[in-house]
């Protein structure tokens, strides 16, 4: 049985199901209980699980992330709610110096099974400190896993997997998609990490897209299809671990690739994926690997500017078209 659920509700269900299944799972963060977070994603959880397992904290992101690390090391499975992805900068020490390294530093004697749920995405007119997509930073740190759901279905399945994983997992929800609906089965399901999803098969070009960019690329693929360009769309689902095999196999087939991600372009996720494709599909490429990230500027408040900074379906289609038609030569 499948119903349509919003991404917000899918996340809520994933947490509720896992909390029912496993009494060591708890939620911790700011205004997660009665308020159910500003996005209302957690609405109602406190009614079922009480304030002992849905814990409102002071405005102390490093502090409660640190508590989660310690709790995870000692028999609990905390889910940290970090209200905005931009606040990652506040918790980097606890996440990257502590959580990410403890299993390794202890020679495997300790584990840190925690989930840090946060979000990404611009164009909400929230300006430079509430609009960032910072997943590249945590993807660079060994010991973390990084999941990037692209729909309600993905969000539920990936989050459940994250909660059961014995490692620290950072999961980025697209805050602009919280109200977007998608079919979600009533039956339980998990989505394994490290297995990309081929959303659409194609022959001419591979579009690799994360999170918010999956919809953008799917739209672009439709536009392109109408023009006779057949694009394959791949969602890696997790960027750590990354399903390089599926991506590379696709590009060897299509011989062209464009990587699209909402993080800043420079030193971001598109670079890693493009570099791997360019290396491993070198023989097969008919055009350079294209990439489109967010503009390398802080996110501006003004709507007149903000919309320019993120990849759009038109920009993706334009670039894909150029790559397919040889217009890429200007790149050289």
């Amino acid at each position: 049985m499948t119903r349509e659920l919003t991404l917000s509700k899918a996340v809520n269900e994933a947490i509720a199901e896992e909390m029912r299944r496993d009494p060591t799972v708890f939620v911790i963060g700011e205004d997660v209980a009665e308020a159910g977070t500003p996005f209302k994603v957690l609405a109602g959880l406190v009614d079922e699980f009480g304030t002992e397992r849905v814990i409102d904290t002071p405005i102390s992101e490093p502090g409660f992330t640190g508590l989660a690390v310690g709790a995870a090391m000692t028999g609990s499975r905390p889910i940290v709610d970090l209200m905005f992805g931009d606040f990652l900068f506040l918790v980097m020490d606890q996440l990257c110096n502590q959580a990410a390294k403890i299993h390794y530093m202890s020679g495997g004697t300790m584990t840190v099974p925690m989930v840090l749920r946060t979000n990404l995405g611009a164009t909400r007119r929230s300006a430079a400190q509430h609009s960032q997509s910072l997943h590249a930073l945590v993807a660079h740190i060994p010991g973390l896993k990084v999941a990037m759901p692209s729909s309600a279905y993905e969000a539920k399945g990936l989050l459940k997997t994250a909660i059961r994983d014995d490692n620290p997992v950072v999961i980025f929800e697209d805050k602009l998609m919280y109200q977007d609906k998608a079919p979600v089965p009533e039956e339980e399901y998990l989505i394994p990490f490290g297995q990309a999803n081929v959303l659409r098969e194609g022959r001419d070009i591979t579009l690799v897209a994360t999170s918010s960019m999956v919809q953008v690329c799917s739209k672009a693929a439709e536009t392109l299809a109408a023009e006779g360009i057949s694009a394959e769309v791949i969602d890696p689902r997790t960027i750590v671990p990354l399903d390089e095999a599926t991506i590379v196999a696709s590009v060897r087939k299509t011989s062209r690739a464009l990587v699209v991600d909402e993080g800043h372009q420079s030193y971001g996720v598109t670079a890693e994926i493009a570099a791997r494709i360019a290396e491993r599909a070198f023989y097969h490429l008919d055009a350079p690997v294209g990439r489109i990230g967010a503009m390398d500027v802080p996110v501006p408040f003004s709507p007149a500017l903000e919309d320019l900074t993120v990849p759009t379906p038109d920009a993706v289609a334009d670039r894909a078209r150029a790559l397919c038609k040889g217009g890429w030569a200007d790149a050289a």
């Binding site: 409102d56 002071p58 405005i59 007119r125 503009m295 408040f301 003004s302 709507p303 007149a304 900074t309």
Partner: protein, 334 residues
């Protein structure tokens, strides 16, 4: 004390009253713009807390520095900003104080020493303290005021910078606008012990004051500002106040965390503007008509500024990659 010297300071009192009215008017208009879907994004109303910003900023010189918060319109007005550039900023227009790049949560007005609102709770505590360090090192005689909310006292950064401010006797005043709430939670549920005692534990002289009484705030602030300039800082001030609106403009149904009774109690009996107006009348500093005259003038000023801002132009698309780096006109072509 302040009351005793009342008659001699008519101009100051009228300016304080006017500035409080200006903040209230600014917020009422901003709220309307938001409700009419003319303002993009997210904004937090300062209404109810006017006596804090005005009482303190009126004790400062124009070139003293302040840092502000996500609830920052009040500080900006109180420190001397113009409505036009402020509304332009809130609407993302090129004439805004930050050319539309900052918006409500990052509005800054360097022409009057406002180093900016900050969308990271507690995020400006280091900046204010650093401005005080700079003032001390460069011997400018300036002081810095760091405004923040009660909820922000949960950020570890505050304790780090208080320690350094106390060790180095920096000319900074930490002003905690204690409105009782952090978003949708009563702060006493998320703050253990005593906030004032926390500052005192660092050897910082601390004060608690009624944040709805602009004269009390101003008198305390004037004394502390003077002492700061003499090198007797830092200081901490805990100001009891109240926000009239929701946490942000969209926070309408808030019964689950805050009662209507409580709200109307503050609005009816502790409104900083009403009460100060009554006092001005009782002291014969201003007549009821004069106050109405001020209110009307402010209302017209605000409406004109809104109209101006609505008609103003957005920044040109070429501005998107300007100001990434100082000295590089356009980042992406660099």
């Amino acid at each position: 004390m302040a009351r005793a010297t009342a008659k001699t300071n008519t101009e100051d009192y009228i300016r304080m009253y006017t500035q409080m009215v200006r903040i209230r008017a600014f917020e009422d208009n901003a709220n309307q713009l938001y409700l009419a879907a003319k303002m993009p994004g997210l904004t937090h109303m300062y209404s109810g807390q006017e006596a804090v910003a005005v009482g303190i900023c009126e004790a400062l010189e124009d070139d003293d520095r302040i840092t502000s918060t996500h609830r920052g319109h009040g500080h900006c007005v109180a420190k001397g900003a113009e409505f036009k550039q402020m509304f332009c900023e809130l609407l993302g227009k090129a004439e805004g104080y930050c050319r539309g790049k900052g918006g409500s949560m990052h509005i800054a007005d360097t022409s009057h020493g406002n180093l900016g609102a900050n969308a990271i709770v507690g995020g400006s505590m280091g900046i204010a303290t650093g401005a005080a360090l700079s003032a001390k090192l460069q011997k400018t005689g300036r002081i810095a005021v760091c405004f923040f909310g009660d909820g922000a006292t949960a950020q570890g950064l505050w304790y780090e910078v208080m320690n350094m401010a106390a060790l180095w006797k920096l000319p900074v005043i930490y002003a905690c606008e204690n409105n009782g709430y952090s978003e949708y939670t009563r702060t006493d549920e998320i703050a253990a012990g005593s906030i004032t005692a926390r500052a005192e534990a660092f050897g910082i002289e601390s004060f608690e004051v009624d944040g709805q009484d602009v004269l009390a705030v101003n008198e305390l602030a004037r004394g502390l500002v003077e002492r700061c300039r003499k090198g007797e800082g830092p200081f901490f001030v805990n100001l009891a106040t109240y926000r009239y609106h929701g946490h942000h403009v969209g926070d309408i149904n808030r019964d689950y965390y805050r009662s209507k009774d409580e709200e109307s109690e503050w609005k009816q009996h502790r409104d900083p503007i009403t009460n100060f107006g009554k006092w001005l009348e009782a002291q014969n500093i201003a007549s009821a008509e004069e106050l109405v005259g001020i209110n009307d003038a402010v209302r017209r000023e605000a409406e004109a500024a809104v109209a101006h801002a609505e008609a103003a132009a957005y920044p040109d698309v070429s501005e998107v990659d300007m100001h990434v780096h100082a000295g590089i006109p356009h980042a992406l072509s660099a």
